[in-house]
């Protein structure tokens, strides 16, 4: 029911944007048609489990035989500072897309902040290779189009595992083609360069996950179920822009509950100040 209401909210938005009342009627019918796959809130949705498990097994094999060995070699051969630079570079492209999505979600303050991150890192950070925005107190806030749809009330819907791309949902699958428009590959026009950059992006992501992946093996009873539940919970949750008070322990006075809090940008000297500061305006914490 609440799913319906949220859908309705999304539709209302569309209606008001288009200025056309008939969209609502059509939307309600689409909504009913989608009800089977979208289900209601709180429900664990996996109507295609049998098929999903097959695809998951295929992906696991592919990972074990190709992606994981390549990522392992990459993290062993390429020096850490270079890997960090590459990771930052891709992160920077992600920030631009996050900016767009935050704006689409109507979270303008957070959007402006991400925009500043992108601007600072793209220029002073040498096309994103250096992440100096984080050091300047501009926190990363990743968003994608699936989250934007979720922000406007669309539930995750049924779980889908895609070959190669892995875990997804009905909602995120709809959003995927849009997200691809902002993937690192679009930076280049050349086909082979596109493939190369996309491959590097993939290897980078997998390499970041190597250690955690090993740990997950040890804590998941059934990997398929574990990944699915983590995915649906994670993608179905919402973040907010509440102010955050950064807790910094006062030197030698750890037990004082009112230990200093300061903006993320000033970890050094501020740490000994036993006051609670609200982060200053452009500082990261303000709009989170």
């Amino acid at each position: 029911m609440s799913q319906l209401i949220r859908w309705f909210a999304l539709l209302l938005l569309v209606t008001s944007l288009v200025g056309c009342q008939t969209v609502k009627g059509v939307g309600t019918r689409i909504d009913k048609a989608l009800d089977k796959v979208m289900g209601s809130k709180g429900q664990r949705l996996d109507p295609w489990e049998e098929w999903n498990r097959k695809v998951f097994a295929f992906n696991e094999k592919l990972d074990a035989n190709v992606l994981k060995p390549v990522a392992t070699a990459y993290s062993e051969i390429v020096p850490s500072p270079i890997r960090t630079g590459i990771d930052n570079f891709f992160g920077n492209i992600g920030d631009a897309w996050s900016t767009v999505n935050l704006m689409l979600q109507g979270r303008f303050k957070a959007g402006v902040e991400q925009g500043m991150r992108f601007a600072v890192n793209s220029t002073l950070g040498l096309a994103g290779v250096l992440d100096i925005a984080t050091e300047a107190g501009l926190e990363k806030n990743s968003q994608d189009f699936g989250k934007t749809l979720g922000h406007w009330g669309m539930g995750t819907g049924a779980y889908i595992v895609w070959p190669l791309f892995g875990p997804s949902s009905v909602r995120d699958s709809l959003a995927l083609p849009v997200d691809w428009q902002a993937s690192p590959g679009v930076v280049f026009d050349d086909g082979s360069k596109k493939v190369a950059i996309t491959t590097l992006s993939l290897v980078n992501t997998r390499a970041n996950f190597l250690r955690a992946g090993t740990m997950l093996e040890g804590i998941a009873l059934d990997k398929y179920t574990f990944y699915r539940d983590a995915y649906l919970q994670r993608r179905g949750s919402f973040d907010d822009d509440d102010e955050v008070e950064v807790l910094v322990p006062a030197n030698g006075a750890a037990s004082a509950p009112e230990a200093a809090a300061s903006a993320a940008s000033a970890p050094g000297p501020a740490a000994s100040e036993p006051t609670v500061k609200k982060p200053a305006e452009p500082a990261s914490a303000a709009s989170r």
Binding site: R44, G166, A212, Y231, Q233, L247, A264
Partner: protein, 212 residues
Amino acid sequence: MTLLTSLRRLLTVATLGLGLVHAAHAADGSAPDLLIRQLSVETIEAVKADKDIQAGNVNKIIALVDAKVMPHVNFQRMTASAVGRFWRQATPDQQAKLQAEFKTLLVRTYSGALTQVKDQQIGLKPFRGQPTDTDVVVRTEIRGKGDAIQLDYRLEKSGAVWKIYDVNVLGIWLADQYRNSFAQEIGANGIDGLIKSLAEKNAKAGAPAAKS
């Protein structure tokens, strides 16, 4: 690839979550947000000061959890919640075993992830509860490189003190995370089957790496 990133960060934070609670000795449980605040502040110091924990010394971490964390966690409720409707069907002996194995499982997660903690900070979000509430959520986040990592605590008031009974990492409540996995295992092999498979998981992981 979002999920991979998410899960990686989940582990990083789970770590801090533990670190968080690890220095709980001085914290008082009279107000939920105060409790989390104190735990958070003490954690930053404890994690940064303890090289053994950063190195992932499992035994040391388990000892800390028993001594410092458990007084502030209603682990029985957390386990019961993860086991779901089958909890009432379990005998007291089975319940005790489930609790012990689940605890080991989570501590193992934490200890492995603790090695990944470096220059993170903990941020506290505004507390939305009322003074009369007996069940609240305290929201925090871990900030460092990359996205801030959501870390929320669900607490209940039992008597005069507050106890943590669920943890949310990156939008994932841990009890919920395990509910389907547990139900699946119980459905296939019964409650004893779940205990057995948890014990096997723990033994397998503990054997080669943990005893350092």
